[in-house]
């Protein structure tokens, strides 16, 4: 992914300082700073209502921030919004396609609005429809498309103008797993062409899979920023889980490993041992058990994933509406909606 960064002449990415936005009493963005390097994928990760869409709306010239400054694709949002618009593409959460036009007409509409001449518009349309595997349905009305197809058409329309920076606001929300994978693939192809991508998502897997850098947004603030690995390293959560067949072995093991009560689960007959999951650490645990003459039925190693990071960073006790933090179950529900 980062190979593209070196290859392309850098169109500038995004630099934002102190962005604020409130609607009446409600503070949506409470002063956020962002730095997105050109040619990379940046993911803004956060639960519903964290302010992700507002951030995209501000950076894509749709609404004005109450305070703060930003340059997007090398131009100031405030002073030359139109120059920004000429360089960006936006694919929003709700597919922005014209349902009463066919896929091809939608594409040609974009070509016209980008002032491409007729032949060039046709050529670009045909090329993109083929690339997005929509050539077969080019003559069908967009309103008859499935969610995945609409989203693909949406992205294809965004690409007609050859943007150097693309905003993708929750590009896979509501898509089935297969369409999601297709979108991921398409997004990855874009960075290979040197396009900068600013992505918002509530799916940890998506950020982990696609993004070079991730910022976690919660209640209008950036609570963490870094690569997926950096974020994972920031929080403890890695452990070894041992499964026993009876309480006696559980007790013996627990004594030998000098674990406190919190590590035991008597109902499930499991022990949870904090560990980085490395081989020496595993061997040490197994050696201790063997020395005590206790044998475990099963052993699983759990390394921290972004779920842990996300929950640790956004799901603390001070939050009243902790239910809005999407766990894996929520995520699955979202996808079905």
């Amino acid at each position: 992914m980062s190979a593209a960064t070196e290859r392309m002449a850098p169109p500038q990415g995004i630099r934002a300082v102190g962005l604020r936005k409130s609607y009446g009493e409600k503070v949506v963005l409470d002063g956020i700073d962002l730095h997105v390097q050109a040619g990379t994928i940046f993911a803004l990760l956060g639960p519903n209502g964290a302010g992700k869409t507002t951030t995209v709306q501000i950076l894509s010239t749709l609404i004005a921030a109450d305070a703060g400054e930003a340059t997007v694709a090398g131009h100031s949002l405030e002073r030359s919004a139109d120059a920004v618009r000429a360089r960006i593409g936006v694919t929003g959460q709700f597919a922005a396609v014209d349902g009463l036009l066919t896929a091809e007409e939608n594409m040609l509409l974009m070509a016209d609005l980008h002032h491409l001449d007729r032949a060039e518009g046709k050529r670009r349309t045909a090329e993109l429809l083929r690339q997005f595997e929509l050539a077969d349905v080019a003559g069908k009305m967009a309103s008859t498309f499935s969610g995945g197809m609409r989203r693909k058409l949406d992205l294809a329309m965004t690409l007609v103008g050859n943007p150097s920076l693309i905003f993708l606001d929750e590009p896979t929300t509501g898509l089935d797993p297969r369409s999601r994978r297709t979108m991921w693939h398409l997004i990855q192809q874009l960075t290979a062409q040197g396009v900068t991508i600013f992505l918002t998502t509530q799916y940890l897997e998506e950020a982990d899979r696609l993004a070079d850098r991730i910022a976690v947004l919660d209640q209008g603030r950036i609570v963490a920023e870094g690569t997926a690995d950096e974020l994972k390293r920031r929080i403890p959560g890695g452990h070894i889980r041992l499964q026993f067949s009876d309480v006696l072995s559980l007790d013996a093991a627990s004594r030998r490993l000098e674990l406190d009560e919190g590590a035991r689960d008597e109902e499930k007959l499991t022990l949870q041992i904090p560990s980085d999951g490395s081989i020496p650490a595993l061997r040490a645990v197994l050696d201790l058990l063997e020395g005590a003459g206790v044998s475990a039925d099963a052993l699983t190693v759990h390394t921290p994933d972004l779920d842990d990071v996300f929950l640790a960073l956004t799901g603390d006790g001070s939050r009243h509406h902790a239910t809005t933090v999407p766990g894996p179950a929520d995520t699955a529900q979202e996808a079905r909606r």
């Binding site: 609607y23 949506v28 869409t53 507002t54 709306q57 894509s60 010239t61 749709l62 609404i63 004005a64 139109d82 120059a83 618009r85 000429a86 960006i88 936006v90 929003g92 709700f94 597919a95 922005a96 396609v97 014209d98 349902g99 009463l100 036009l101 007409e105 509409l109 016209d112 609005l113 980008h114 002032h115 009305m141 329309m157 965004t158 103008g161």
Partner: protein, 265 residues
């Protein structure tokens, strides 16, 4: 340069809206159906009684035929109004579709979106007016206008449609739902009734009569009637033109400011 782009973008948007109109003819049909039903109602149900009971400005014997000639220009005005206010629905539908946010983040002439809607709607309205005129001729409307007078009449109707389209574009932008957008401009379609479209205002009670004499539809009706039937126009023509320009300017400014207002979350 930016003017050429504004023109070009507006043409692109106009083509888009005309395509919509072709694919969704139900809107055009309902725009034509309402005035046609009104025309039939007033000619065949009320026409005999109204023709005999009212002193019509054109003189005449006061039968159904004379009343048809009296009421038809009013019905045309109603048709223009009904057509124009449907802009609110098409604009509001667009706003809820998400594609509008795409347009807003593109480097295009900002007003072209609305211009496309308004001009498209005026064209659609003129087409439905042609149909209504056709029906009126079938039921006995016998205008004595010259070609120039016809053109002037169509010009007045187009100006009214243009002004009201801008006005209803603004209403559509301010509406929270398509239903609201469809209902909000309804009162406008009733204004011709409270003017000189159906009966002369002289026959109304004082308060209503005062309103009827000063509201914009009355000079427009009178001008139209004068052009098509040869009744006296007087200063109605200037008033009609004035109102048309005022409506257009107000509607345009209102719509533009509504469009530039921040997107809601």
């Amino acid at each position: 340069m930016s003017t050429t782009y504004a023109m070009r973008d507006s043409m692109t948007m106009l083509r888009r809206n005309l395509k919509h109109a072709r694919r969704y003819p139900s809107m055009t049909i309902s725009i034509v159906a309402m005035p046609v039903l009104m025309l039939l109602l007033f000619v065949y149900v009320f026409g005999g009684a109204l023709g005999a009971g009212i002193e019509l400005p054109g003189g005449g014997s006061g039968g159904r035929g004379d009343y048809t000639n009296f009421v038809a220009p009013g019905i045309l005005l109603m048709a223009a109004t009904a057509g124009a206010v449907s802009t609110a629905v098409s604009v509001c539908t667009d706003m809820t579709e998400g594609i509008i946010n795409r347009f807003r983040t593109m480097s295009i002439s900002r007003s072209s979106v609305l211009t496309g809607h308004v001009v498209g709607n005026v064209i659609q309205t003129m087409i439905s007016l042609a149909l209504v005129i056709g029906v009126a001729l079938l039921v006995g409307f016998r205008p004595n206008a010259t070609v120039v007078e016809w053109l002037a009449a169509l010009g007045i109707l187009a100006l009214l449609a243009f002004g009201l389209s801008w006005l209803s574009a603004a209403i559509g932008l301010g509406s929270s739902s398509v239903e609201a957008a469809s209902n909000a401009p309804m009162p406008l379609t009733f204004l011709p009734f409270l003017g000189s479209a159906i009966v002369p205002p002289e026959s109304m009670p004082v308060g209503l009569r005062w309103f009827a004499e000063y509201q914009p539809f009355t000079p427009m009706t009178d001008t139209l009637r004068g052009l098509l039937m040869g009744t006296e126009i007087g200063d109605s023509a200037w008033l009609a033109l004035g109102w048309g320009v005022v409506l257009s300017v107000l509607g345009f400014l209102w719509a533009r400011s509504a469009f530039h207002r921040e997107a809601k979350i």
